[in-house]
Symmetry: D2
């Protein structure tokens, strides 16, 4: 925080929500970034963060930001890089304003995800889509996919490259933290499952195609994959589990699939991004793995776990995947995206500190 702090100033929009809190935690002690401001709704503005926030994370509020005054999400907040965890009711316009004012915004909100000139980024999967930023004016907007899309698309990428994916059937069992704060009421979910999450199935079916799509002449042509998604909310704190069946163009055994999943490194290979997992995908061999409580924190919550790879009577193979929805699927994913933006030299005037 003193003159010697070479880290890049980062603003957090929507800092009091569930994902915003995770961002604040992950930025604590980050080697490249430091928190420059915390933005939230006018209801919170003007109060110290520790008062404005209803903190629900394990462990305490980081000391560096506990007393930081929360600011209204209005122009004039100054940081070259902004992480947004805003609610979609306001994110579209606010993020646009920050980008117009010159900031590079990495957003977890859904509003700009399907804009043709906005990268829908999973760093390991489609880091090349950052080229779309060339078409944007201002600082630019990069988006992070939906929390349940990220795990699915990450697992599909190496399979698609190796075997050609044409069909996907996915049923999700999603944790309550994905619903934010207050989110799902306890009366709705104790001793219960809610087999519907508004808009979620459409996001899974639509976003995956863009993420796995091909960049050509400055636009992304979506991958041609038929996807059927069914989404459920279950009484789990963190960790989205997904039961996936996938149809390939080329034959593949479970062993072959396990190998390409395990070996996958993707577009972040060699970049040493601070938030990157050692391995994007962990293939587990326990007969009942992965499980949310046991495996969501693998590789600091940034890895996807895959287990139970086996033949499918209808498509080619089936498997179960798990990803930590508020780390890899939201705050950590956006942070990794911001790191890639910097590593690729797309944050004008800033290099990765220490390089």
């Amino acid at each position: 925080m003193n003159g010697a702090d070479q880290r890049i100033p980062v603003g957090v929009l929507g800092a009091t929500g569930s994902v915003g809190q995770r961002m604040v935690r992950l930025l604590d002690g980050h080697p490249w970034f430091r928190v420059a401001f915390l933005g939230a709704s006018s209801r919170s503005a003007g109060r110290p963060y520790r008062e404005a926030v209803h903190w629900v994370q394990d462990g305490p509020i980081p000391g560096e930001v506990a007393e930081m005054e929360v600011r209204d999400v209005e122009p004039g907040l100054d940081a070259p890089l902004v992480l947004s965890a805003l609610d979609s009711s306001v994110a579209g316009e606010v993020e646009r304003r920050f980008a117009d004012a010159g900031a590079l915004v990495v957003s977890n909100a859904k509003n700009h995800r399907m804009d043709p000139d906005v990268p829908l980024l999973i760093p390991e999967v489609n880091g090349d889509h950052l080229a779309l930023l060339d078409s944007q004016s201002g600082g630019g907007i990069v988006t992070n996919p939906n929390c349940s899309t990220i795990g699915l698309a990450l697992s599909l990428k190496p399979l698609h490259d190796a075997f050609g994916v044409h069909s996907v059937h996915v049923v999700t069992l999603q944790a309550v933290s994905g619903g934010g704060i207050p989110g799902v009421a306890s009366m709705e979910i104790l001793d219960n499952v809610v087999p519907y999450i508004g808009g979620e199935e459409e996001k899974l079916e639509l976003e995956t195609g863009k993420i796995l799509g091909t960049l050509s002449s400055g636009t992304v042509a979506p991958a041609r994959i038929q996807i059927s998604a069914q989404c459920n909310r279950v009484p789990v704190i963190d960790g989205h589990l997904e039961c996936v069946s996938v149809g390939f163009s080329r034959d593949a055994s479970p062993e072959e699939a396990a190998r390409v999943l395990s070996e996958f490194q993707g577009a972040t290979r060699g970049l040493n991004l601070p938030s990157a997992p050692r391995r994007p995908i962990h293939v587990l061999t326990g007969e009942a793995d992965p499980q949310p409580r046991l495996h969501r924190d693998l590789d600091r919550g940034m890895a996807v776990s895959v287990g139970r790879i086996r033949p499918c009577p209808l498509l080619s193979l089936r498997y179960v995947l798990l990803s930590h929805n508020t780390i890899r699927g939201a705050a950590g994913g956006a942070l990794l995206g911001a790191e890639l933006v910097v590593a690729r030299g797309r944050l004008a005037g800033y290099d990765p500190p220490g390089t």
Copy 2:
């Protein structure tokens, strides 16, 4: 219990387990049946039921049986009709002994389900399969399908009749009561999902074909339906939820499917079986229905709820179904089967009381 009690004496095997307890509750005040004996392992034998059982049902132990002495599951226990909730480690042999001794056994255990001469009965779906009893010697054995199969097969029957089902993709979210007592440890399931239930996927894939199969020349030819099943245990007490995608040979709109499901009566129509639901399938229209806690007790837990009927990008239609796994899916289903056996005149020497 006195001389005036015209009800048919029924024995319960495995009376201290989770399903056995449900049977005992459902038999309390039953108009056709009365409890003649309670059988359990030799560890429980000789003790009054209220002492031998670790009761986990809502509401108290029925007064009529609380003091009844639990008996070893050995020959000599006398009742023409026997409901079995025995563990599969002993059920195969014990049930056979009772049948050989002349009892008609309606079993919830898996052991004899796939025997060629044993009906795998869902009364509304394949009541005609009771004709297989003609091939059996002794009293006979009738089996109740797996708890997750029953809801699926019930919902498939009217769809199959109307539109021709050729493919089914099903992912289950199953309640812990399906695991019996002690069953799933609390440490395994709190804040967690277990994406594996030993043998369950195979049962779903195999049993459904036999249930929907065609009786001809004294044998059942299984229906030709490709089924892909993935089974999960979730922290819910009662009620199995299933996310189903189904492929039809003939086109069908969601509205047409909803109509045939709602109107389904099946092979119990007009029989006035005491445990039959008013309607086997309830089609719900709420956007997030059905849900275990809200709908598992519909029609006293004997109905299957279906909701969210909508097109599937891969197969024809998708829907969510719910059935109460220890009532419709186990104890109540077996009891309804026993009622059908009596109503069809297949319990030698006994007619439905009052007729």
Copy 3:
């Protein structure tokens, strides 16, 4: 609903909340009362009840009210008797307006509970406190105690009469339904306990004295009992459990205490109130009873269960009690209070139907 319906018209204020929903369910098929109007905030007003409500009860919305238009809680709503489940932010004023307009209001809200001229009523315990209505103008207001107070005070009444209670130490484990809708967020309570409920400890410590107090010369002198209360929220849907230690002026064995608790009938004896439990207090003898899931529905949720009565090393005796917080502790308790009001002839112009 037709001319032949002799039942007393009853309005429900706050009909869309958790307690209001319970009131609506309990009024369905009630022999004395019929729903005359459903009142809620202006946000809900004008819509059919089934649309305005986020229904979270087991079982469907009663057919009689599903299409009833929700009304704003403004004067002009016409019913001689009003049940209020309003939020305390508005209840004080709204209930007063209805009383001024001539209605007799039985309220579950906290606002008027400690008013000197308002009965804080548990029918079995202090039915005589209805005499306070003589001091009120207009239709009158009667209040239902806090959900955790009701079970405690019910259990203390017979003990106080028999042995003289001077000290009470109580720690509660309260269900989430007590927090209303949306109430406690699922992220706050899954795999967690919250050892604080705002204002709850004060209510327990204060209300109990008034309820057990003595009516004399038109006022209630509170009972002199020292109470220490600690309140916790636990991940349970329904049913408040309380660990109680109680100090007596006279010696009493656990057996004597069990007897006076079991035999307690109180001020509703012989009145045949439709919602009265067969027995207000059930003494259970299982070593781990009572438990919320097993015993909350005893006597249709209107009875209090008491177990584990044993000596206390610090005070006289200890016990565990359970009461259904949204039935006996809220909607059902208020309804029973309304029935007592009618039975005692305090609803001008109306007798109990059928008498």
Copy 4:
């Protein structure tokens, strides 16, 4: 593991259970100790640990022990120091055999806790009780108190020293991991509380006196404190919460109590034990703190959290405490005890490595 490994060889008895698994995790990378053998019942013996154990911890089995062969808990297993997580059905005899054979056994089992010559050790509280080892023959036995006793006694120690505790009323809300594996069935605890844990109340009432007792002439005279304990099992994975009321001989304000609790260091001060928390007791000031999910992992699960310190209408003060039951309350507590044993020079022939 090679010749250069100067760490003290440690055996783990009962290594496959819940507490044994925690011990194995905590020993992974321990600076003083290395795992020399893993002992379990004969059913597990001879199999590699990863096969013999039903692992339920977050994170994977430590690589160093995953393939280690589990041994029967018979004489001949060679290590100077043994941690025991054996079930009490066998612990008494097995631990005695190991001690007779010369090992120093630090046990989490209840069997020897109240033996007059066995220290019931909480290192910060009564490290001087290790002098009881002088009366023992063989290697010696040291015991770790019950999981719910540890948090209570730790919090009482500084209060007792400062203000003189004469009375304690405690109600516990205990996590399911305290019941071991399989322990509490999921059907017993989902949507439920079980207000009884066999033997637990007696342990709390009895052990606390010995722990806070005074060593004199080679024996411990128990502290004279009247304790009333009520114990509940709640649906929480880890973390025992306790609602405590305490009566002092001298007046003390909440602020004074908070100060002595915060400043407490106890008998481990200056020893730099590897598993010691930075501070044994954290006083939290949030109105709803401590909470199991938020605070159980403070100081790596080795600290006790205390909050809501306030006056008690019956005794002197009230507070809420939380401790991690399988870390501080079991495996970590035993490990800290073993470290104290070594630091105090009571493991013949071994000094703390690196000193």
